[in-house]
Symmetry: C2
Subunit: 265 residues, 2 copies
């Protein structure tokens, strides 16, 4: 993937369009025109013209207060993403079963650009409030799904994440690389990961790998519950059962996308 | 919204980029370069160059077989769509409750561009297989959610849909405008809609409106079950209960997006 900032030539119009849309990937849901231009690195006149075109095409929408947000048309195109939709569709029934058995938050994430990218999340009216939403990217070292994805990633990728630094999200986050390496070795040995207050104070999680036909870990499934009341040993059997059932479905139905994923990784 | 085809001037580069991405909105998940160019109405050289830029930016991804699909980056930006994400997040706990009470398909849809656009769908391992997925747009006159959205739409919008024709999806689809008008009057009177085999043979649905603070219907919630075994009278109480609970949440938390929706409609 080519980052806009790494380009030596000035960005093309297509590059500017992508930069404008990218401004919404990590930011607030609503942005003003000047925020969009600043994030995209575009002069106001160019930004104004292109944002106008994107709004006319329903890729962006303009709220009555003058701010912009991602439009329904762009959302709809995004739902066609092969690598996401295929896995999500396979996972949903298993995630439903897991939700029903536990009533905790149920999450599905993949490793993408050095983060845990959340493809789906189910939560109930009684689940502990958590920071993730669908499309969130969270640190690998501080989340249950992240530890699973990191533990089973190629060593080079794992060491690159460790070398990039392990910021403390809470006082309980594992920030020592050697301690994290030992923790990840345990995840590989045990086949699951556990976190307690490491991403959010008050939230604990258990996570398990989802494997493709060749054994490659393609995703992680997790349950997030209240640290105080969660009996993680009780959560583990339904979680690993659902992760294995999903792995069987992935092995049968998801070869093409798994290949695409490895190809693009 | 300005359709590309309606423009009198040749499309700008931003317009071409949108046309390429739009090629994936209604088509297959995977498209060849020539399919993309044909759908976007672009000469091969232009299409090749822009698809290459979009692939380098991870807006599109290229599979090992040379086909393209929507990239994870574009999916992620799409998840930030204000009008969709806000409503979906509010609806999900209520949809979970509904799934748990019934084990049938649970769907959330809004009226968009004369179709029922499905924002979310939960389904279990035992639910009846249906044609919708998240991001699908289905005919209003043949679906439960569609009948609700159409019944409570402004009369001008409703008559425009009826005037555009009512194609038969199955032999049971209501194709007579006068009969559909009577059916929609019943939906307004009863506060719910029913379909039996009208979109897919074997599938029946009940649907109820989701209202904003001012009473405007902003979405529809539905249950889809097997026609043969579904007792729709049994499904109605949990459905209308969940739709009312979601309406209360929407009334409190969703004013901004409701305003944006009306503004853009």
């Amino acid at each position: 993937m080519i980052e806009v900032a790494e380009r030596t030539r000035p960005p093309s119009v297509a590059g500017k369009v992508m930069a404008i849309l990218d401004a919404f990937a990590d930011g607030g849901v609503r942005l003003t025109l000047s925020e969009i231009c600043r994030r995209a690195g575009l002069p106001p006149a160019t930004g104004h013209r292109l944002v106008g075109e994107l709004t006319a095409g329903d890729f962006l929408e303009r709220a009555p207060d003058g701010t912009y947000h991602v439009g329904t048309r762009l959302w709809r195109i995004g739902t066609r993403a092969g690598a996401v939709t295929g896995l999500r569709e396979l996972a949903l029934p298993h995630m439903e079963d897991l939700y029903e058995a536990t009533h905790d938050n149920v999450q599905l994430a993949v490793l993408r650009d050095g983060s845990a990218l959340y493809l789906e999340r189910l939560r109930g009216t009684r689940s502990v409030p958590i920071v993730t939403h669908v499309g969130s990217a969270l640190p690998l070292h501080a989340t249950g799904v992240g530890k699973v994805l990191l533990a089973f990633a190629p060593e080079r990728e794992r060491e690159a994440v460790l070398a990039a630094g392990l910021p403390a999200l809470t006082p309980r986050t594992i920030t020592d690389p050697e301690r994290l390496r030992r923790c990840l070795a345990e995840v590989r040995r045990d086949g699951y990961a556990v976190t307690r207050d490491e991403m959010t104070i008050g939230a604990a999680s258990v996570a398990a790998p989802v494997r493709a036909a060749d054994g490659t870990v393609v995703a992680a499934l997790s349950l997030v519950a209240r640290t105080r009341s969660a009996d993680l040993r009780r959560l583990l059997p339904p979680l690993t059962t659902a992760a294995r059932a999903l792995s069987r479905d992935v092995a049968v139905h998801w070869r093409g996308d798994a290949a695409a994923r490895r190809d693009s990784a």
